[in-house]
Amino acid sequence: MTAPMQLRGLTVRYGEQLAVRDVSWSVPSGLVAIIGPNGAGKSTLLKAALGLIPHEGEALFFGQPLDAVRHRVGYLPQRQSVDWDFPATALDVVCMARQPRSRWWGRLPAAERAAARAALAEVGLQDLADRPIGQLSGGQQQRVFLARCLAQQADLLLMDEPLAAVDAATEREIIRVLRRLVEGGRSVVAVHHDLASVPHVFQHALMLNVRSVAAGPVAEVFTPETIVKTYGAPVAA
């Protein structure tokens, strides 16, 4: 089976600075974490893989370039990346994930709206579908983003800090959704910051600090030595 995502020599420069250096990584199926300190290039790695920022090297999805398999790849950006004062309801936001499935003009067909509603129900927000997004709590906004990601019905979901700044109940809810996705045969790659929860949530991990420090099953790579290597001693660029 081809890997859901394969990175070859991915490098990102911000001016003189290397944000990501020569990362080659074959992402296995399952629940996969990208772990590393602030400024390690975790989000940058995802964005570069998705072609959202200039980079060197290449990323293949299911063995093909992204353009050939766009519909199979979903994305959950960081919550702060958009303006939550935008005039839209929770359902409107999730509907945006269904737009390209029909067409880019006119009203969204009823079937697509129904699919968006179903995605909201999966994250437990069916009763808030018609609420303006600006009136939702941070945790609810995060779940709206998760629902939009689910509504893409992708086989590989790339998530940038899905558990950032949410309360414990929301975190449990989101983890439950992620587990169900993986049980359904999907793959999830999530940028993650909370070291304590890594072993009981994720199966595989990439330890990143500009360079790839270690990658593999959590039981093998999430060791005190690699954690010190990733967080303690800065990796020379």
């Binding site: 005039p87 945006m96 003009w105």
Partner: protein
């Protein structure tokens, strides 16, 4: 007050201009392009002046709007290109680039204005009206042109509605879904430029940005969803244009642009009070 035929034409023209500005203004506001619109309006001035010189040299009627607006569009587009080019270097911030371009194009235009006054024919063209606006000179064909513009802007925005929405809410997500974000963004900027230049003769370059911003901002206060915001912005824009032109016609010497903008401000403040309660 008895409305003359001429006043009715001016009111109609300003109302249609307001509708176009409301339609485009919604997305200009959501995409954070208000300052950019201001820069484009100011950047149009040297183009208007240049076009007046060409008109005079060719022996055309220097008051004919089409060549002047074409010149304004070219210069406004150049200003836009300059802002994009300067910001893309990442050496200076976009707001700095906007300020530099706005000031330099406008200064060039003002110097040009005083220089061309000596050219035969140009002095009568009333070019200084492009700064503060003078809708009273609007002729029937100008009102028709404003109508065509409004129709085009409303239809263009409606046709691009899901694309513009996706662009303004989350451009990266839209790009990942295969939307050609650069093209949609360029289309939006083109529409903004179109409204700015079309608004110059009536509202003037100083205030044309308010025509884009006020109806949209008012509509945002009164609506929770984008379709409602869009419809409200078109209505508020149209009403501002209509009432502003009427008020200015009834008071000798009141510039139309300022009257239209003040009506827009009244709508905005009313909406603020409604929302505040």
């Amino acid at each position: 007050m008895i409305l003359s035929h001429n006043t009715l034409i001016v009111m109609l023209g300003c109302a249609l201009l307001g509708v176009a500005a409301g339609a485009v203004g919604c997305f200009a506001l959501l995409r954070g392009r208000a300052l950019m619109a201001d820069a484009m309006g100011h950047a149009a001035l040297p183009g208007v002046v240049g076009a007046a010189i060409v008109s005079a040299l060719m022996g055309w009627d220097p008051r004919a709007l089409p060549p002047l607006l074409l010149g304004g569009t070219v210069a406004g587009g150049l200003g836009l290109w300059a802002v994009q080019g300067l910001s893309a270097t990442r050496i200076i911030r976009q707001d700095t680039a906007i300020a530099v371009v706005l000031a330099s194009f406008y200064a060039l235009g003002v110097v040009g204005l005083s220089v061309v006054q000596v050219l035969p024919g140009v002095a009568q063209a009333g070019l200084s009206h492009f700064i503060l606006g003078q809708a009273a000179t609007m002729r029937a064909e100008d009102a028709w042109a404003a109508g065509a513009l409004a129709l085009f802007c409303v239809l263009a925005v409606l046709a691009l509605f899901p694309r513009l929405t996706a662009l303004c809410f989350d451009a990266e997500f839209a790009a990942l879904q295969g939307l050609r974000v650069a093209w949609v963004d360029a289309a939006l900027l083109g529409l903004i430029l179109l409204v700015c230049v079309a608004g110059l003769p009536a509202v003037g370059l100083v205030l044309v940005v308010a025509l884009l911003v006020l109806p949209a901002a008012t509509a945002r206060l009164l609506n929770r969803r984008l379709p409602g915001m869009f419809a409200t912005a078109c209505a508020v824009g149209g009403a501002s244009g209509l009432l502003g032109a009427m008020i200015s016609a009834g008071h000798e010497g009141w510039p139309t642009g300022a009257a239209v903008v003040l009506v827009g401000v009244a709508f905005f403040v009313s909406a603020l009070l409604v929302r505040g309660r």
